[in-house]
């Protein structure tokens, strides 16, 4: 047979030009945007391109990043989770209260993570067997979990310190998790983020489970008739999200050892979803990568950092973040529509 010309299915002529291939990758647009931003800030400010500041940015984005990793799974599976800000607050508070009650660190953290598992499970079951759209189910859970946190703490702030009853050695390890540095330079939060993202990347790109997440989000029908249990995969994604939100909440409390149910993590879900979407995940499911999400998180982090360094007012910062979301996602959609 002759070498046929395919309708749209033409294979890349050659795989040798790795640069060209990189540019074709889904993440290329976000990566270039990030690069441009970094270049601009290096010239526009003195403080940006220092290792200290860069590590600082890394720490600042870590908690957002850990949650965005979870959100990547949920969005790829074709769902969304609005309850993560509340979970962040609730799990942190639960762990904090146990520490104050004199618990050892590991059990306290495990219970905190377990609350995340339960919330994720409820979200998942409601959105699958319960037949609720996840937008509705998790919107309900956003309020329910926040309410539960308020009831649990009676609306009072929870402060983790020795005076309130925390054991000294627990307090020290807990503080190290949130405020410490690995080899005295790398913030521990960043270490956790890198670990979580690395593991998630392995799971999503190389494991059978990751494959199923993509399949379920790309076409639930195709997945179902192939014998994939769509509900189980979706519930697992929600549970993973719950655990990571809980973990971020616990780290958050470890960094800033005082938390209040009415304030902590308010509106955080929107930042998380924004970072994930900027990173190329699609709200309609089936698309997204951990690498993209990391870039999305970095864009938002670098943006915040740069605006502070340039002395822009916090009000304008908020506005700029909104613009970045729209422009970044817009560029992505436009470029794919042109070629697709």
């Amino acid at each position: 047979m002759t070498q046929a010309v395919r309708t749209g299915a033409r294979a890349p002529a050659t795989d040798r030009f790795t640069l060209a291939r990189l540019l074709r990758a889904r993440e290329a647009g976000v990566f270039i945007a990030l690069l441009v931003m970094c270049l601009f800030l290096s010239f526009a400010t003195d403080g940006f391109l220092t290792s200290l500041n860069l590590l600082n940015v890394g720490r600042q984005v870590s908690l957002l990043g850990i949650m965005a990793v979870g959100m990547t799974f949920v969005l790829i599976a074709g769902e969304v989770d609005l309850s993560v800000g509340s979970t962040y607050a609730f799990s942190g508070l639960a762990t904090g209260m146990l520490i104050i009650a004199g618990w050892a660190l590991l059990p306290a953290i495990c219970v905190g993570l377990l609350t995340g598992v339960v919330i994720g499970l409820v979200n998942g079951v409601l959105s699958t067997y319960g037949r609720l759209p996840s937008l509705i189910a998790t919107l309900g859970m956003l309020s329910i979990v926040r309410g539960a946190a308020l009831i649990l703490t009676n609306g009072q702030p929870v402060t983790v310190n020795a005076r309130n009853g925390a054991l000294p050695d627990v307090l020290q390890s807990f503080g190290f998790m949130g405020q410490g540095y690995l080899f005295s330079v790398i913030p521990m939060q960043l270490v956790f983020f890198v670990l979580v993202a690395g593991l998630a990347w392995l799971v999503l790109s190389f494991s059978n489970f990751g494959f199923r997440v993509y399949a379920v989000g790309g076409s639930a029908k195709a997945a179902r008739v192939s014998g994939i249990s769509v509900n189980k995969v979706k519930i697992s994604a929600f549970v993973l999200m719950g655990v990571l939100a809980a973990f971020a909440g616990i780290l958050g409390l470890a960094f800033l050892p005082s938390s209040q149910a009415g304030r902590t993590g308010l509106g955080l879900e929107l930042d998380v979803i924004a970072a994930t979407i900027v990173g190329g995940a699609s709200l309609s499911g089936g698309e997204g990568t951990i690498l993209g999400t990391i870039l999305g998180v970095l864009i938002i982090g670098v943006m915040r950092n740069g605006l502070v360094l340039m002395g822009v007012s916090p009000f304008v910062q908020e506005l700029m973040i909104g613009l970045v979301i729209i422009v970044a996602v817009g560029i992505d959609k436009w470029s794919t529509r042109r070629t697709g």
Partner: protein, 505 residues
């Protein structure tokens, strides 16, 4: 008559009933499928064929009756259970994941059968996928291509490739080749025969009676949700099958012997295309005159599958497309509609249809201005038009408010065709216009197309079905490798000539 007992059935269905709101899709049907036979199931659009297949697939649950597999009573509670019983299904409405690659789709059920904590065997996936594609003669398709970029024909091949590599005991093919050209279909039939020799039961749903007669060992006819009869395939004719399907004599001879009349040599050129280039198309130029039915043929990889979308402006393009001398902007379907072009796409579930909206709304959805006043829909006019189109195309629906997605495949096709007729187009572009449509309705549709051509519309018929081109077109362009490789007119239009121009290298 027979001195040997027929073998015990592998799948034995009796009294099976399925009810949907407003329709009894299956009414106590009984049919037995034997091991190692090719068993065709035929019937008009909406007869209940796909419903039966979806029950076998575990995708629908029956309301009554029983299914025996190997003599034992079975409930097929889920697709997983169906697969465990050795049944594999190629669905009429494709079940592929558009965001994944060809290889990932072909291997999806393999992945589902493996442990969740295993690794994704990328290389093995690619290798297996390539082997499965090669078996279907599509070895040049890159397994890493995303399915969303494929044509409907290629998607069908991917779906078939995934199914045949599963070594099922029962393979269900629900109109598997409705978008394939003869070459791919023939290859599929070779494989079916091979599978039969290996003892696989193949259940084959089709509207192509000639293929059915060539291929099947036994044929079951369904009508209005019932099984009418099961016949051994010996000494049967197409007419005999049609009579069983429609339950009365159908004067097919008169309808099918119609020949295209050349009447438009002198008519003005309506559509003119100059150096049209798009993905898979390479500088194609042609024109169509008023009152002409222009056929376009070619293999799936010839570029013909992109032509409809490129003309209509659904994808990016270069070159000039004009209607009555007015140039159409690329990438702007709105402008195409405004200037009198209508498209019936091959992919009726994608670009084609509003599946969750009613039949009535679908019929008028491309001509809203005409059916609204001061921003409100003129409901009476909408219903009148919808009723007229449904009657004209003989579509089987339960009521005008029925959601399009719940119609049988062939009936969806008729409604989408109706929608494009309502726009009163100057140029009507049809891509696989009778995909999944039954014999009787096909003849109707051809008559309608001739009728509107007679009113001065230029009809461009892109089709993989060569007989369809021969019967209707007075001029046929054949595409190969994205270019026009030949033009045939009048008596020069025949199967050999078209194939020769489609395949020569």
């Amino acid at each position: 008559m027979t001195d040997t007992q027929p073998p015990a059935p592998i799948v034995d269905i009796s009294g099976l009933t399925k009810r949907f709101p407003g329709v009894l899709a299956l009414d106590r049907i009984s049919v037995a499928f034997r091991p190692g036979e090719v068993h065709a199931v035929i019937g008009e659009n909406g007869a209940g064929k796909s419903t039966l297949m979806n029950i076998l697939a575990g995708d629908l649950q029956p309301d009554g009756g029983e299914i025996r597999i190997d003599g034992r009573l079975a409930t097929i509670a889920s697709p997983l259970a169906s697969r465990a019983a050795g049944i594999t299904v190629v669905y009429q409405e494709l079940a592929l994941c558009p965001t994944l690659s060809i290889a990932e789709n072909i291997m999806m059920s393999d992945m589902a059968a493996r442990s969740v904590v295993s690794l994704v065997p990328r290389d093995e996936m690619r290798r297996e996928a390539r082997a499965a594609l090669t078996r279907l003669g599509m070895g040049t398709l890159d397994p890493d291509t995303k399915v969303s970029r494929l044509s409907v024909a290629e998607m069908q091949l991917v779906e078939i490739a995934g199914a045949i590599r599963q070594r099922a005991r029962v393979l269900v093919l629900d109109e598997p080749n409705s978008a394939l050209s003869k070459r791919e279909s023939d290859r599929l039939f070779e494989i079916v025969k091979q599978l039969r020799a290996d003892g696989v039961t193949v259940i084959y749903v089709s509207h192509h009676l000639k293929e059915v007669l060539d291929l099947a060992d036994r044929i079951t006819v369904m009508r209005d949700g019932r099984t009418i009869e099961t016949m051994d395939n010996s000494g049967l004719s197409e007419d005999r099958l049609i009579r069983a399907m429609v339950g009365r004599e159908l004067d097919t001879a008169a309808q099918w012997s119609l020949q295209p009349q050349a009447r438009s040599h002198e008519a003005p050129v309506v559509l003119s295309v100059e150096k049209l280039a798009a993905p898979g198309l390479d500088a194609v130029s042609f024109h169509a005159r008023a009152g002409e039915i222009l056929g376009i043929g070619g293999l799936p990889d010839s570029g013909k599958d992109m032509l409809g979308e490129a003309l209509f402006g659904l994808c990016g393009r270069q070159g000039r497309v004009t209607i009555d001398g007015k140039e159409l902007r690329g990438g702007d379907p709105q402008a195409s509609i405004r200037n009198g072009m209508a498209l019936v796409p091959a992919d009726r579930r994608g670009a084609g249809a509003l599946l969750t909206m009613s039949v009535a709304n679908n019929v008028v959805s491309a001509s809203l201005p005409r059916f609204s006043m001061a921003g409100f829909m003129r409901r009476a006019a909408v219903r009148r038009e919808a009723r007229a189109q449904v009657a004209r195309l003989d579509a089987r629906i339960s009521h005008l408010g029925q959601k399009l997605g719940t119609l049988s495949g062939g009936n969806q096709q008729k409604i989408i065709l109706g929608r494009s007729l309502v726009t009163n187009p100057r140029v009507l572009v049809l891509h696989e216009p009778t995909r999944g449509v039954d014999v009787g309705a096909k003849a109707e549709i051809y008559a309608i197309l001739r009728g509107i051509a007679g009113e001065g519309v230029a009809v461009v018929m892109i089709s993989s079905e060569i007989p369809e081109l021969i019967m209707n077109a007075e001029r046929v362009l054949v595409l190969r490798n994205g270019r026009i490789s030949g033009e045939l007119t009048g008596a020069g239009i025949n199967e050999e000539a078209i194939l020769a121009r489609a395949m020569a290298s």
